[in-house]
Every structure is written in structure tokens, then in C-alpha cells.
């Protein structure tokens, strides 16, 4: 098969991946937050909090959260950027964006803009954002390099990119336990709670297919960022990559 890409452990036609990922998130959107809390034992909230704390976002800043889903990061960014700032919550998936809008409204967070977009083709002017974030979204993007180049393009000089994503742990014991949990327990929980075992099987597979810390760091630098470092969280199960555009 020509022009193929990964969809979990399967090879699929590049042009098909976006639709397949959309199917996964259409299916899990309504239970997304609940599932994240259950599957990560609540740790995803700490990972996201650390991400926003690392952003150096200030009052008046313009922030884009890509694949923002139910809006956890956007809510925190909104607090930091304040009334004079601008926070955009974006997602390629309409169902996830609708969940995000509902979640923010329920939490009394207003002033955040919602835009449905593809990370590979960002509809914004160059040099226009102080911070761009993508949490647990990059691994679902078909052309990650193109997406990173786009994020670099729209950031101002001095702007900061934050990529929070599942990664690789180098602790053998933790790795084995995590593998068992991912492939045996996570899909079952997905089946029980979200009535969708298959989507959570994809989640486990897509994590294994995602580039490791060093590879992603080099991808960020290749996209044009002058600096990039990463911090392993929870033993490297998750990593936060921080890129800075000079």
C-alpha cells in the first residue's frame, strides 16, 4: 500500500487516518473526561497543570490550544491570559469541541473562542501567538512534522510551544506494568465505561507508535524551534516538550 501511515498498529492509507481518528473521538467524546480520570487515576489533571505552569503565559497573551478537547488547558490558560488576553480552544473533531464548549459553560468560563481546525493547516497569521499547546493530540495527527511547522509559523518570536504526550519510560518494571495495563485493562475499562473497547485499544496502540522523547525533541527542532527540552512525568509515561521560537 502506497502512502500509508499508522493508525494504532495498523497501516492505513494516509488520507484515511483523519477520518478514523475522528471516528474514535466521536465515539468517546461524551465520556472523555470521565475516562481520562479513570484511566490515569486523575494524574492527567496534574500533567496538564504542570504544562500550563511551564508555559510562562502572562496577562494579555494570545494562546492557541490545539486538540483541546474538553478544555482543561484552555480553562487554565484563560485564568493566566486574563480579560485582555485571547485563548482559542481548537479541535479537529466537532463532537469534542462541543464537549469543550459545554464544559467551559458549565464551569462558568467565558471569553474562550472555539475553532474547529486541522493542526496541519492552521488558519492564523504568522507570528501571532505567544503560546501554542497540544496535549494528548499530536500522536493522532497524520503529518506531525507539518503540524509542528505550522505551530512554529504562527508563534511570535519568543513564543512557546508545549507538547504534552504519552511517551516512553526507561524503567523496565514500570514499562512492563504499563504495557499490561494498557493492553489488558484499559480497553476493558473503555468497554465497560464508554461502551467502546476498540477505541481504547487504539489509544494503547497509538501511544506505542508515537515517537519517543528524543525523537520528538529532534522533530521540534527540525520544525524550526531554536530550543527544545522535555520533562518526563510519571517516570516517562508522559513527557512535556517545550520548544521556544527565537
Amino acid at each position: 500500500m502506497e502512502n500509508t501511515t499508522h493508525f494504532g498498529f495498523k497501516d492505513v492509507a494516509t488520507e484515511d487516518k483523519q477520518g478514523l481518528v475522528r471516528g474514535v473521538f466521536d465515539s468517546v467524546a461524551s465520556k472523555y473526561d470521565l475516562m481520562n480520570d479513570v484511566l490515569s487515576f486523575g494524574a492527567h489533571r496534574l500533567w496538564k497543570r504542570y504544562t500550563v505552569a511551564s508555559s510562562n503565559v502572562k496577562t494579555g497573551d494570545k494562546v492557541l490550544d490545539i486538540a483541546g478537547g474538553t478544555g482543561d488547558l484552555a480553562i487554565e490558560f484563560r485564568k493566566k491570559a486574563g480579560e485582555s488576553g485571547k485563548v482559542i480552544l481548537s479541535d479537529i473533531n466537532a463532537a469534542m469541541l462541543a464537549e469543550g464548549r459545554r464544559n467551559l459553560t458549565n464551569k462558568g468560563v467565558f471569553g474562550v473562542e472555539f475553532i474547529q481546525l486541522n493542526a496541519e493547516n492552521l488558519p492564523f497569521e504568522s507570528n501571532s501567538f505567544d503560546c501554542v499547546s497540544i496535549a494528548f493530540g499530536l500522536r493522532n495527527v497524520t503529518d506531525k512534522d507539518q503540524a509542528l511547522r505550522e505551530m512554529h509559523r504562527i508563534l511570535k518570536p519568543g513564543g512557546c510551544l508545549l507538547v504534552l504526550e504519552f511517551s516512553k519510560t526507561d524503567n523496565e518494571l514500570l514499562s512492563q506494568a504499563y504495557d499490561f495495563y494498557s493492553f489488558n485493562i484499559m480497553p476493558k475499562l473503555g468497554g465497560i465505561i464508554a461502551d467502546d473497547e476498540e477505541s481504547y485499544q487504539y489509544l494503547a496502540e497509538s501511544i506505542r507508535q508515537h515517537p519517543d522523547q528524543e525523537t520528538l525533541k529532534n522533530m521540534v527542532l527540525d520544525a524550526g524551534f531554536s530550543f527544545c527540552e522535555y520533562h518526563n512525568l510519571t517516570g516517562g509515561i508522559v513527557a512535556l516538550h517545550k520548544g521556544i521560537k527565537a
Partner: protein, 170 residues
């Protein structure tokens, strides 16, 4: 992770209006402590400071010094005096280096606490050195643990008689 604390503290100062980094804007300053595994880049841009361990890109100014010199600098020692005594090496604009030092001073961070996070490795390394030195030179000691204990004891009680001390000075 310590540089994260540093970054937060510096940006808090800037946010509160207690520090103006206008003169540092656009500058990247490389900072290294020779005696500790600590190298950082301070990237001053977009009216904020990023503190990163990624030091692969060229900086505008390089600052290299030992940790005790750094602490004395924060306690009021002048850069110019330290330069004369060759206790600090600065490549690039000294004024920029001075601005960064002033900023670090005003942050009122407990740097001794931060640096102590790094000395753990150094102490571990020294213990390793003692073990290696004794392993190679002493046949009277029964185990590596005893060798470490004896080596540390002699280093603490009578440094001049310590094998580690002697090795450092030969």
C-alpha cells in the same frame, strides 16, 4: 526540575513589575557552574525569561564560574573583581552578564538549596572515587563498604591524610 523553579521565580518578578528585562530582550545567556552538573541557557524574549537545559544553540554571552564564586557574587561580590581574579569567565558583553546577575539577586531565591539538589551527584561521585582509589591501593580492607567508610572518615577527620585528598593534589 530546579530550573523550572528558577524560571517561575524570575517571571514572577517580571510580572510583578519588580524587574525590567527590556535591556536583556533578545539575548540568550549561557550559564555554567564548573564544579556542578549545571548548565543553563537563560533566554530573554517576549518580555519573559525561559530557563532551559538545552544549551545546544549559541548564546550571546557565556558565563562560567564555580558554585562558591556564584554564591559570593549573589552576596555582593563585584563581577569586575572576580574577573580580575580569574574566578569568573565571561565571553561576550559583561554588562549583559551583570544584568542577569542583578536579576538573579533580586529574585531572592535560596540558591544554596537549589545547588544542593545537584551536589548529591557530586558526593555520590566522590564516594565512587574513594571506593575506586581504595580498591586499587589497599589490600587490608575487607569490603568496599568498609573502604568507603574508612575513606570518608579519613577525609572528614584528616583531609591531608586522605587518599582522595592526595589524589586530588597529585
Amino acid at each position: 526540575m530546579q530550573h523550572f523553579v528558577l524560571e517561575q521565580a524570575l517571571n514572577y518578578l517580571i510580572d510583578q513589575g519588580d524587574a525590567d528585562i527590556g535591556s536583556l530582550n533578545g539575548k540568550t545567556i549561557y550559564f555554567a557552574l564548573d564544579d556542578l552538573p549545571l548548565t543553563l541557557n537563560f533566554i530573554c524574549t517576549n518580555n519573559r525569561i525561559f530557563v532551559t537545559t538545552d544549551t545546544s544553540s549559541n548564546a550571546d554571552v557565556d558565563i562560567k564560574l564555580k558554585s562558591n564564586v556564584f554564591l559570593s557574587l549573589l552576596q555582593g561580590e563585584e563581577i569586575s573583581d572576580l574577573l580580575k581574579q580569574d574566578k569568573i569567565i565571561i565571553h561576550g558583553d559583561v554588562k549583559t552578564a551583570q544584568l542577569l546577575v542583578d536579576l538573579l539577586k533580586s529574585a531572592q531565591i535560596d540558591f544554596e538549596e537549589i545547588l544542593s539538589q545537584y551536589t548529591g551527584d557530586v558526593i555520590a561521585n566522590q564516594i565512587g572515587n574513594i571506593a575506586r582509589n581504595l580498591k586499587g591501593s589497599s589490600n587490608t580492607l575487607n569490603s568496599p563498604i568498609e573502604a568507603i567508610k574508612d575513606g570518608l572518615t579519613s577525609l572528614l577527620i584528616s583531609p591531608s591524610k586522605s587518599k582522595l585528598y592526595k589524589n586530588k593534589n597529585t
